[in-house]
Point group: C2
Chain length 698, copies 2
């Protein structure tokens, strides 16, 4: 984030008020109470002093430079105030005031006016209509939120101010530390993307959390997110997902696309971990902020009771984690140190009368185990249980470990001391094993993302895009919104798709020549603008395997047509390649208002229409993303080979997806398209685009 | 539950101890501290007084009748103690002691001995290896759990003692009241089914919660659960679901069945609401215990902030609830009473500066709204927010309402007072909107179950089961584990399935006669024990539409067989009905170790093998259950008609499922079977069982 928001040397509060309860008072009070070390200037033309500070009528009257302006004046006055700030040379402003875009057309005009002014003065703006900003490191609380969280490594930004207040309130109560809190408000200027860029660079932040309802610029978001997630985890809640666009779609892809799928795809492609609830957002954050990344997905569970152990093992099986299978040495150590009735395989049950020392010996053995990548410690309060001492042993055992450990100390008052101890030792504790495992699973997904080699952008295929530009221009001239049949096939062919070979012939000899070129078997069809249902009048001959069959078919279809439709104009015959049978898949694209070209892949027919078994990604696509799209669908086994069938030619599908990605990136005028079906042959034998529809913007 | 567990007039603690921390001491202390009004007799041969009570060497020495014995002696001593109890005429005992079945073979033998004795004396036993029992109404705490929950309407039983302790501890801290708590332990005698029966009758319990890892008797469980859920909600967590049986399966159904699917089906058929986590268990319980049932599924949301409103609306859309569309009158009232910037459609946003009065007028309008069935009130702590007063208004508005209301007051210290007030007013509050909506959704599912008319057991189809018994007996004599082909078809035919008609002929004339009887078209196949691949030698003729074609086909297949396999014994030909094309579905059954015959339904082929898109139910089945099985699969649209296709004959599938249900209920010797495919014709045209495999126990 450009500007001076997190560490200004001085702050002016424009609209500071003497009246407790007013936002302009609360902001000033927060600035004072947070211990902000720089100068603070209350600005209020009707006061000379507020909360013990000298007040000024206007920023112009402040003798010194002002690093950051916090604006809490009514919206109608805001443009004038912003102009004052600009003239004073202030380059960063937080507009807390509401009454802008969110409040209807008058407010929208005001927001436009403010935007124009801030651009004129090169000013960066957070808000309007926001709660403000908190930076625990620089002790800056430029918000009207009640209270300030403790220092921590987690940064949190929120598009909803009220949700921000609730979360701050909750974080303070739980003692969860934050590095920064930012309320985005209307995102007139500064957006989630700016924050991702800024927080990725922030040395005090090691996990970035965000609540968003939409993005200002999908492309910018993806770029910022990819860069940020390479450096630290980004976890987001995206709501408003059911408010899908209402535009009527002209393709299968368009029908199935929608904003929710676009966000899902974008998050996946940028390594952003999506949390479905605010609760999960912080659950995931705790393990990622305070524990090492996972080197693999093998989980060890230690418990003092069978029931919670089973619950945890169930949750592990349902997750992407697996139950660790201990090394022999570990099993031996566990057997030697635990009572005979203990369970020494995973989950390790140290049984109900375990004191802290028994947990310790089990944990030490597991910490050393070479087959374990992460550890979950469960504790229920039983007669002999020592929650605090056990918590200390967890902390000690893993203080230097490269394995993440999380806990679920279950219960109320009996385990509270233990939970507090864990919190101080930065061991994430969860009220139940399921949430602990969900958090470890999220951490494992991030670990995988971080350790995967960075995939370069794909090289471009050599294609004739001028030819395609011509075809699209031709359609535009004809006012033709949809390209189908030969036009669509020509576009695909220019982009290197294999399309069915086809030719036209006026005589039997010509038909044979065409067939010879295409290769046998072929199909011969009558060519006549007057004959729609060619098969019905005997105008189609299939599976012709030789020149003589083609010649005879030519005579037959011509004479059939003459006989059944004597008045039809007959121009000759088309000779088409017979497409060998294969697996029918569908590839498509629809443009998302936020993220642009969104590609779809699925098996054809009912898999798309009834089961909606499809995968989405935002173009441009790289090889790995194309491959993951294909393997993501539920029916993937039908392509990879099942019931003794040969696998389909998946490299050809990947190639087709990459070519489609290039096509729709090259031509923004293509607004929607399906390739349906792409007929995929057996492994090594390629794929043929049998039919396609392309919608263009006119 | 038979016996005297919840309201005994007197209790003996056998193994009572003077030593604090010992289980025998803690149980006695809990009994005293809970204010149990009846007589308490510590039994300990080495003490004359414990905790101020006179102690007795043995129950035999107690001068009065003893209602309930709590046994906390070492497992080896337990049989002798149980015998003492029996002789004393005690009919109910809680065996808290561990060291039985859970501890290996010696313990198992001890448990068998105890079981034999208690049966001899007609004694009911809870445990062994359990935490004990708590009844807040009769002030009985016969457990060694630390602390006692307050009185409430929720009963909770747990197969895991440690989990029980943790939950009690948690419930005490949260002020969640319980009517009864029962720790099941090893379920030597009293099981979850007994508890369902007993708690269904308990006037102090209005919601039954259970944590189980398995059931003692699946049939008994289902009977008890169906009866209980007709009266009050039953919510359960079932863990251990991934520990599937390891028996090799001989059918598709057997491969896909497994314990997890059996529990899922049983819960569904009994109206038991399944919670996936302990957290969800109590989330659901709160709304069902304290709020009226839903009359429909239309939810209204009131919020003072946009973000949480969107989050809630999203969660609603993902659930089985729908967003209420208010009556005109309601919209008018909201418009009149709320500020112009408020959102008056659902979610209703009373906006950030709303005090309690504004919430009140919105809530009153919504309470009156005829299009609303349930209400969720969201609150975030903002400058003007009044959490406590708003909580009071929620309570007042809905105190007499027949609509359930739940809240999510979000935050920490700022909203704590409001949350406490809600708790006292029995309004369930959830830390986030998603959990609130999940709880309402569970309540809605229970409301639907409760209001559905009770489905009677199906009438029996008139079938010839003696004939089937003969066929199965024949297989047994032959030591034949699997019935396929004609044998299997005969079984199905006797149970009223339509099977392909078929006949045998030794001459061309006979073949024509058979074909005439079956109806054309038919298939003629060579009949010879020596010819396996009949098509390869020209031994099959398809689609024969007339007598003359059948006669010619007879000659052709006989002469082809003679020519190609001169040494083969040729017995004649089979004449089979040609099955018209339809939708292929699969019906099957596998026996579950807990619940017995489990039926499966799915579309055939890859839908079963790759997509695993199948539904399960426990037999016997009623009509509604059969119909719901069919509509439950993801690909249901393929049967109900999609893309202009005619719908399949779903009543025939229901009929087939009911016949299958009767067959496998009548014959326990059938351990697994598939009908694959059942070819289902278009609506009204029936279904034909084309092939089947039946596995029988020898």
């Amino acid at each position: 984030m450009l500007g001076n928001f997190f560490n200004p040397d001085s702050v002016a509060v424009i609209g500071a008020s003497r009246e407790a309860g007013k936002v302009g008072h609360e902001v000033l009070k927060n600035l004072l109470q947070s211990g902000f070390p720089g100068d603070i200037y209350p600005i209020n033309p009707r006061a000379s002093e507020i909360l013990g500070l000298k007040a000024y009528p206007s920023v112009a009257d402040v003798p010194d430079r002002i690093g950051l302006a916090v604006i809490v004046v009514p919206s109608q006055v805001t443009p004038a105030v912003v102009e004052d700030c600009g003239r004073k040379g202030i380059d960063s402003a937080i507009i807390i005031s509401a009454g802008f875009k969110e409040a209807g057309s008058v407010g929208s005009k005001l927001e436009q006016e403010v935007s124009r002014l801030t651009k004129e003065f090169n000013m960066r703006v957070l808000g309007p209509n926001c709660l403000g900003i908190i930076d625990t490191e620089s002790r800056l609380n430029a918000s009207f939120a009640p209270g300030m969280p403790s220092k921590g490594e987690i940064a949190f930004f929120s598009q909803s101010g009220a949700l921000g207040t609730a979360i701050l309130d909750w974080a303070i109560e739980r003692g969860i530390g934050l590095s920064k809190f930012v309320s985005l408000g209307n995102k007139m200027d500064i957006s989630e993307s700016d924050l991702l860029v800024s927080l990725a660079d922030d040395p005090n932040t090691n996990v970035i959390l965000g609540y968003i309802e939409g993005v200002k610029d999908g492309r910018a978001f993806m770029e910022a997110a990819i860069d940020a997630t390479r450096r630290k985890p980004v976890i987001m809640v995206k709501s408003g997902s059911t408010a899908a666009g209402a535009r009527a779609a002209s393709s299968h892809t368009g029908t199935l696309a929608g904003s929710e799928n676009a966000f899902q795809a974008a998050f996946k492609q940028c390594g952003v971990i999506r949390a479905l609830t605010m609760e999960a957002l912080f659950d995931y954050a705790l393990v990622l902020a305070h524990q090492p990344l996972l080197k693999g997905n093998r989980l060890a569970i230690v418990t003092n009771a069978g029931g919670p152990g089973i619950i945890a093992a169930d949750a592990c099986e349902r997750s992407q984690l697996t139950m660790a299978s201990f090394q022999q040495e570990t099993v031996k150590r566990l057997r030697d140190s635990l009572p005979p009735t203990a369970a020494i395989y995973n989950p390790v049950d140290v049984i109900g009368d375990a004191k802290a020392d028994r947990y310790l010996s089990a944990l030490q053995a597991i910490e050393d185990d070479g087959n374990t990548d992460a550890v979950l410690v469960l504790l229920t309060p039983q007669a002999m249980t020592e929650p605090v001492a056990t918590a200390k042993n967890v902390i000690d055992t893993f203080s230097e470990s490269d394995k993440p450990v999380v806990t679920s100390f279950m219960g109320g008052a009996s385990v509270k001391g233990g939970i507090d101890t864990l919190g101080k030792g930065k061991i994430p504790n969860y009220p139940n094993p399921e949430r602990a495992i969900a958090a470890l699973e999220a951490a494992s997904r991030y670990s995988n993302w971080k350790s995967a080699p960075v995939q370069q952008e794909e090289e471009r295929f050599a294609v004739d895009n001028e030819k395609v530009a011509e075809i699209l221009a031709r359609a535009e001239q004809r006012n033709q919104e949809t390209l189908a049949g030969p036009d669509a096939m020509e576009v695909l062919s220019e982009y290197g798709f294999t399309v069915p070979k086809s030719g036209f012939a006026e005589t039997g000899g010509e038909a044979v020549a065409v067939a010879d070129e295409i290769g046998y078997p072929v199909v011969v069809k009558i060519a006549s603008p007057d004959i729609l249902h060619k098969s019905d009048i005997g105008g189609v001959r299939l599976r012709l395997g030789s020149a003589s069959e083609v010649e005879r078919a030519f005579e037959e279809v011509i004479s059939a047509a003459r006989r059944f439709m004597p008045t039809a104009v007959i121009t000759g015959v088309t000779v088409d390649q017979m497409i060998p049978p294969g697996k029918e898949v569908i590839l498509g694209m629809a443009r998302d208002p936020d993220f642009g070209p969104m590609l779809m892949f699925g098996l054809g027919g009912i898999y798309v229409e009834v089961l909606k078994d499809v995968a989405f990604r935002i173009a441009p696509l790289n090889h790995r993303e194309a491959a993951s799209m294909i393997s993501e669908i539920r029916a993937y086994q039908l392509l990879s080979g099942v019931r003794g069938e040969e696998p389909a030619d998946i490299p050809s599908i990947i190639d087709s997806l990459l070519r489609l990605s290039q096509l729709v990136t090259d031509f923004p005028g293509i607004i929607e398209m399906d390739i349906n079906p792409l007929m995929v042959m057996a492994s090594g034998q390629g794929a043929v685009a049998v039919d396609s529809r392309i919608s263009v913007s006119l």
